[in-house]
Amino acid sequence: MSDTKYILGHFDHPDDLMDGIDKLQKSNISIYDVYTPMPIHGIEAKLGVPPSRLPIVAFICGITGTFAGISLLYYTLHKDWPMNIGGKPTIPMPNYVPITFELTILFCALGMVAAFYFRSHLFPGRAPRVMDLRATDDRFVIAIDAKNNTDHEKIDSLLKDAGAVEVLYNERKYVSYE
């Protein structure tokens, strides 16, 4: 029992999982993380996960794209090589709109997704830090650090009380992906 690193509570219904989180929190047992096969609304608030700041990143990237677009057009059409195209002005605002708009969207999408991948450590070839293989299939898994929370029997009974279908005592943190 002393070799146990993490206790995993398996649930097969998201409502039971939420109940399990409530029960653990009432007994002051800290939760390491929760792994689910689908997004569960309201779980962040329960676990005290702060709201994502990605919308701010998206806005900054988008506005950068807007300025990049306008600067590109202003520099090429007006400053670097002004051309007489059908007598049109060299700063034709309506004609600036499409490219500025497309660059805004492009910068916003790429910047935001890059920030998401970077902050969540997602990149091709990263060894998946998976605690349980069924957490991407049909199980909702609460992981509890067994070293910090020593009363294992209480955790066991709390989880089972909430409707856990299985409680695992893992001696390794992650499932091996070598």
Partner: protein, 492 residues
């Protein structure tokens, strides 16, 4: 709480008995985890032959030049741009389903968005081939991007809609790809965690190390929502800019302000028709009937009917404005479309796009799979003719009667077009084999809210208005995935 009971008045989005999360995964991964069946191989063989024809025709065009096509001095733009606009239009449904329907919280998108987005990407790839092929010197394709060229510091002409198009299409492709792949990560992780050996290693790389912890899901949801928010104006802008390729010119028949909304409606129209064509077969062959239900088919048919009617109004408006404008040349261009040498193309377009979708007003037709499938193909034929009519009939009789000409395609024109259809189907069939064709994580959200099983549970518990229960029972009649026995059992 994460799951709440949906109103009994809403039709189920997932049918079938004993639906559990595990069953969703098992059902959807059948084509990915097993060897393909005969139907797949037959389809793939035909599609791959088409793709080979495409490789050959495009290579021949590169080798000989644009002279390989049936273009002449009067009609300098014909099948290439027709096919380009057709493919870009088809691509629009994927983004519409994944973005616009997400913003409007239409949960029925959850089981069709993945394949529709894949379709978008493949359609844009097909469209891009025409852009490159029609350049004549495709090795100089990079000249459309703003690089100071070798004559000094001369830049591309940013006043030209063709340059806007290059920006629009490449942005559209990039954003669609990013949106699609980000959505795929959780599902690739599911495949990874069930696989062994080499498959596991490959999917492990593709999954980017996805684990499904709380913070990542939170970010995933916000990223999806913002991508949907920016893709919505993007998808509208793309076909608007495509229409400006024509509308900003001064050719009678092209120079019309109605083009942007008219093209966007047409794009959604043809895109949904293509989704319908593909999904009606996919659901049958891959046994996805419980996930892509009659409700989905009927909803898509309603969209096809609505956008078809918008396109019809646009056709009539064009005719009215041609007359009302008092411009002789404009009026001639339209008279020539309706009754000139290409009258048959115009009336094919009118029949396929305006008249035939009106059949969907009848519920019996809307919920019939064979008729829906045939009509979806009719719509795609009609939409191809729409672009052909706009492009060729506006060009073939110009201001100088001595240069009036007709357009006759060569075998290369036909080869590039038929080949691109083959390429499209090849890519789609490969996609169905290697990636989950339905977004599993998103369908799992529906299991305890919008499934037939959940509604049955609610009915059995009682406490519901009997009138509403009766309404629900009646709505099940059209479902081919709910057997009569199941409905009878409900009646007890």
């Amino acid at each position: 709480m994460s799951s709440h009971n949906e109103s009994i008045l809403r039709e189920p989005l997932v049918t079938g008995k004993n639906i559990t999360y595990a069953k969703v995964t098992n059902d959807i991964l059948v084509p990915v985890e097993n060897k393909p069946n005969k139907a797949w191989w037959m389809g793939f063989t035909v599609a791959a032959l088409g793709a080979m024809l495409w490789v050959f025709s495009v290579s021949y065009t590169f080798w000989t030049g644009i002279g390989a096509w049936g273009l002449n001095k009067t009609v300098g733009w014909a099948w290439d741009i027709t096919d380009f606009v057709w493919w870009v239009g088809i691509g629009h449904a994927g983004t519409l389903i994944s973005a616009v329907l997400l913003i409007f919280r239409q949960n029925w998108r959850n089981s069709i968005n993945r394949s529709a987005e894949a379709m978008t990407i493949f359609a844009v790839i097909c469209a891009a081939t025409y852009v490159v092929a029609h350049m004549g010197r495709p090795w100089l394709a990079y000249w459309i991007f703003p690089l100071p060229n070798q004559f000094g510091s001369l830049w591309v002409n940013f006043n030209s809609p063709l340059v806007w198009d290059a920006f629009a299409i490449s942005t559209y492709f990039t954003v669609s790809l990013v949106f699609w792949y980000t959505g795929l990560l959780p599902d690739i992780a599911t495949v990874r965690d069930r696989a062994t050996g080499l498959t596991k290693r490959i999917y492990s790389i593709l999954s980017f190390g996805w684990t499904g912890n709380v913070k990542t899901w939170q970010r995933f949801e916000i990223v999806s929502l913002i991508l949907a928010g920016i893709s919505t104006p993007l998808v509208l802008s793309v076909h608007t800019i495509v229409s400006m390729d024509f509308a900003t010119s001064v050719i009678p028949g092209w120079h019309t302000t109605i083009f942007p909304p008219y093209f966007v409606a047409g794009a959604i129209f043809s895109g949904f028709a293509m989704v319908q064509t593909l999904l009606l077969i996919t659901r049958k062959v891959m046994n996805f009937e419980d996930y892509i239900t009659m409700f989905h088919i009927e909803s898509m048919n309603k969209i096809i009917m609505t956008t078809g009617s918008i396109v019809g109004v646009a056709y009539l408006t064009e005719l009215f404005i041609a007359w009302y404008s008092g411009s002789e040349y404009e009026m001639y261009a339209f008279a020539n479309r309706v009754a000139g040498p290409y009258w048959w193309a115009y009336w094919t377009m009118m029949t396929c796009n305006v008249i035939s979708p009106q059949l969907f007003w009848f519920k019996r037709i809307r919920t019939s799979i064979p008729i829906s499938w045939v009509l979806s193909i009719v719509v795609n034929i009609g939409m191809w003719f729409e672009r052909f009519v706009i492009i060729v009939t506006s060009l073939h009789r110009d201001y100088l009667p001595s240069s009036w000409a007709m357009f006759y395609p060569t075998w290369t024109d036909v080869g590039v077009f038929v080949g691109s259809v083959g390429l499209f189907f090849t890519l789609f069939l490969l996609f169905l084999r290697v990636l989950p064709g339905i977004a599993m994580a998103e369908v799992k959200l529906l299991v305890h809210t919008a499934s037939h099983q959940q509604k049955l549970k609610l009915i059995k518990e009682g406490h519901l208005d009997p009138e509403q229960v009766q309404f629900y029972k009646d709505s099940l009649d059209k479902y081919d995935s709910v057997s009569e026995e199941e409905i009878k059992e409900l009646a007890k």
